[in-house]
């Protein structure tokens, strides 16, 4: 059956949908959707072809938007997507994840919500707020945001979240109780004798490797890490990379040893691609060695960055790799990163790129 590859590109001014029906040779573009709200993340469920987009409007507050027809019509809701009266209101939705019939939303200020009716109503997972470290969480530059939600494909009660700058937290009971899982990751911004705290690390993005349910990869403000035991212990895999700083990480859809990174030149060096030359870095051996992929990417005067959720792979074979820049350009590779094309430019600031492969 022919495949249609869909890219969901969330931006500062709405959602754009890109589709290819010719093996990712050409792309059509639609949008902007969601009334041009600022969006932080959009995901697609290939089983139902439903799109969810989360964000927050300066005037009208946070919401999760939903389309059941690949973006043609939309509904939105924030019912239940709220903290108790008197607490700081939710500013925006930062991240979404789908697991079975449950939809998860990470928000700012950091918290996790679940919807069991496709985003119509939401329930707060208050176990995370009850964690004893909660009063000591401090916001990173982007705010106190819950930006990464990783679920175990085999066990819906196992969830990892990444919070900037509180670190990685893990639950094995569906969210009742949580524990920090940051051992081995550095917090170079802390005093010298406090650089490996139990929590407080500035995690930027976490993903799970396919198949291996306990293999995680993490891009951190201070380093790049792998864990082989569900985050109990992290090991550095930044040797061979041009920088220890970056935002996104993307795993291969089938090969747990392959992952993609887009390092930036450093947290106070401008946060653009090193030497103003764009490259996606690929490892085929779980981060032991790295290769820079530059074919088709700008190699001079590139001063963009790529935000934490703005790189993704697809499930086609060979895997596609995609990233969107804060300067509004979208790049795609149909051969696991060897060759790249610019799909479009001049979009608003791109917050996230996710993919969905559906029947053509």
């Amino acid at each position: 059956m022919p495949e249609k590859v869909v890219q969901l590109v969330a931006t500062a001014k709405g959602l754009f949908v890109f589709e290819s029906e010719d093996g990712r040779k050409s792309w059509s573009q639609r949008g902007p959707f969601c009334e041009t709200w600022p969006l932080n993340h959009a995901i697609g469920d290939p089983a139902t072809e439903t799109i969810f987009a989360g964000g927050g409007d300066a005037w009208f507050g946070p919401a999760v938007w939903r389309s059941d027809d690949l973006g043609r019509t939309w509904s939105h809701s924030s019912e239940g997507l709220a903290y108790a009266e008197g607490e700081e209101p939710i500013k925006t939705v930062w991240s979404l994840a789908r697991k079975g019939n449950s939809l998860y939303a990470g928000v700012e200020p950091a918290g996790l919500f679940r919807s069991d009716d496709d985003g119509a109503t939401w329930t707060h997972i208050d176990g995370l707020q009850r964690h004893p470290s909660r009063p000591e969480w401090h916001p990173g530059g982007g705010g106190l945001i819950l930006h990464s939600i990783v679920t175990d494909p085999a066990d819906p009660k196992r969830i990892w979240v990444g919070i900037s700058a509180a670190g990685v937290f893990y639950t094995s009971d569906g969210g009742e109780t949580w524990e920090p899982r940051n051992r081995g990751t550095r917090a170079d911004f802390m005093p010298e004798d406090m650089r490996e705290p139990e929590f407080g690390q500035c995690v930027h993005n976490i993903v799970m490797a396919p198949g291996g349910r306990d293999v995680l990869y993490q891009q951190n403000h201070c380093g790049m890490y792998r864990s082989d035991d569900g985050g109990r212990q992290w090991v550095s895999i930044e040797n061979g990379l041009p920088s220890s700083f970056g935002f996104p990480v993307a795993s291969h859809p089938r090969d747990p040893s392959t992952l993609f990174l887009l390092p930036l030149n450093g947290d106070i060096a401008g946060r653009y691609v090193p030497d103003a030359k764009a490259a996606v870095w690929r490892s085929r051996d779980r981060g032991e060695t790295w290769q820079a992929l530059r074919e088709g990417l700008p190699q001079e005067n590139a001063y963009f960055n790529v935000l934490r959720q703005a790189m993704a792979t697809d499930t086609a074979d060979p895997a596609g790799v995609y990233f969107g820049s804060n300067s509004g350009s979208l790049y795609a590779s149909a051969d696991e990163g060897d060759n790249w094309v610019r799909v479009t430019q001049h979009l608003p600031k791109i917050s996230s790129v996710e993919t969905m492969v559906v029947a053509g």
Binding site: E35, A58, W59, F60, G61, A63, H76, S77, S78, E79, L81, A82, Y83, A84, E85, G86, E87, P89, I90
Partner: protein, 101 residues
């Protein structure tokens, strides 16, 4: 401009005229920007809007609860809060403040 009458399920109160911004109306199917509502306070008026267009309260009010930071509600020309009374034949105006980028 389209008009509609929305009846709040409250006690009999005098109707007021409510105007909402186009950007808010666009978020809800078949929503109009100007309507008559039976309500005695700003909060009651917003309840009536929410009954007709579910979810609209979330777009006007946050969880404190309060009028959202970048939304202003004027009653007869006075900037008002949720507990402000709506005298008979009031004009209630929901506006988006100048903000964004």
């Amino acid at each position: 401009m389209r008009q509609a009458t929305v009846s709040a399920p409250a006690v009999m109160v005098a109707p007021v005229t409510v105007t909402i911004p186009t950007a808010l109306a666009r978020l809800f199917p078949d929503c109009v920007t100007r309507m008559k509502i039976d309500a005695a306070t700003v909060a009651e008026a917003i309840d009536a809007l929410d009954a007709r267009w579910p979810g609209m309260r979330d777009r006007i009010c946050d969880s404190r609860p309060a009028i959202r930071r970048h939304i202003n509600v004027f009653v007869n020309g006075q900037r008002s809060t949720l507990d402000a009374p709506l005298p008979p034949r009031s004009e209630m105006l929901v506006m988006t403040a100048i903000s964004g980028g």
